[in-house]
Symmetry: C2
Subunit: 249 residues, 2 copies
Amino acid sequence: MGATVTSRALDILGAFDGEHRSLSLTELARRAGLPLATAHRLVGELQRWGALAREPGGEYVIGRRIWQLGLLAPVQSGLRQAASPFLHDLYGTTLATVHLAVRDALEVLYVERLAGHVSVPVVSRVGSRLPMHATGVGKVLLAYAPEEVRLEVLQNLTRITAYTVTQPARLLEQLRRVRAEGYATTGEEMSLGACSVAVPVRNGDTVVAALGMVVPDLRRQLPRLVSALQVAAHGISRTLAGPASVQWK
Amino acid sequence: MGATVTSRALDILGAFDGEHRSLSLTELARRAGLPLATAHRLVGELQRWGALAREPGGEYVIGRRIWQLGLLAPVQSGLRQAASPFLHDLYGTTLATVHLAVRDALEVLYVERLAGHVSVPVVSRVGSRLPMHATGVGKVLLAYAPEEVRLEVLQNLTRITAYTVTQPARLLEQLRRVRAEGYATTGEEMSLGACSVAVPVRNGDTVVAALGMVVPDLRRQLPRLVSALQVAAHGISRTLAGPASVQWK
DNA sequence: AAAGTTCTTCCACTGGATGGAAGGAGTCTC
DNA sequence: GAGACTCCTTCCATCCAGTGGAAGAACTTT
């Protein structure tokens, strides 16, 4: 094998995801790729600490202590909190689905999402990951990502809908325009019936997040949406750079 | 020593808290009680997995992966989501600080909190823990906790303000009344200038959480607040019991 | 009651974990 | 600008915590 103990414990935690919020010991062992006895021992220890909890039915779920720890992550305590009021304003004035996302390795990680009943059905959830090349926020983040990230992503442009951009050259051209014009758009590239616009959120000079909206149709209202997004993005940037908040250092 | 590898890895994670969101390797090792070399190795592994992240300055913070995992905890995905709209309604009609909390071992764990600018300054934050005997939500949770929990808590009634109830007999009497009347109150027992009311939130027959509000003065408006809280609590209960939501099993 | 599950415990062997020590890489001090 | 800091990284011989097959307990199903 050659697996460290820590990596095994982490594999157990990694066995949980949006589709698997509660797992029996056996499932957990199988998904983590560990022998039952080993999983049993590790799971016991994780549970005692509070990383996992056991439901009445005997199944394991993520524990409160992990939830609590997660609240300390900078995504949550810095970015998310700084952005929250601006997202609400945006949502209030447009009533479209609003997204805040960061780049995590080669994917988009959704940090916050506001969606009304009215709005277009969207795939993303808070905490979920999507490919960068097919989402508005993803294109923004990719446009400002380090060269090597961009190259790697361009090598693997998987098709999701008929409109997904899968030619590296075409995407590169789009990214160039994102940098030039300050916003990105998509048209049914991730899911049919959904278009999106997104703009960068900066902290100082570096782009730290992207702010986007999803609407059924862009054509008519693009300029209006872009400026609304930019106002909000600037607000977030100012808050981030601002009075070092309460929670920095 | 006799510490398992897993426990050491967890000690590292446990070194982070609300007052220590970012730690240098040395601090981390000291707080976790580990030799530097050991901490270094474990921290590296945690970072590679995404449990920790490294800031530009070289300090470690909780990583996005932990944040993401935390979103899967039942506290978050079941209770918190079910309660959210009702909390907003409550807040909207009263403009007081609103709290949702659960019992975690012998303490109150705050799951959600809405506070306006207007409201009384309060100690609690989302994810923080406070003693049960000095908070409204705590008294509710204690009143419905298993006998053994109650006994243990009663043995250690630390004084926080001049008004904190520290006599076991007096607290027991209060808890009896909580069960009889369906709500609990506090008057400056946790922090001066703040009073609170709280009611239980049930899932079926069992009390799973407490819903509370903090106000500068109770006298005049108690009945009004209690009924508002109860309406909201019932709503939450119904949602919890309800259509098994999207996210159960 | 027999044949399934899934979970828990045990224990002799072994390879991953350990941590003191030495060596970088900055930063401050006089 | 040499010396004294602090903080981080790497190395490796020793050893103890981790391992996981197997047996058995606790259920459920047939």
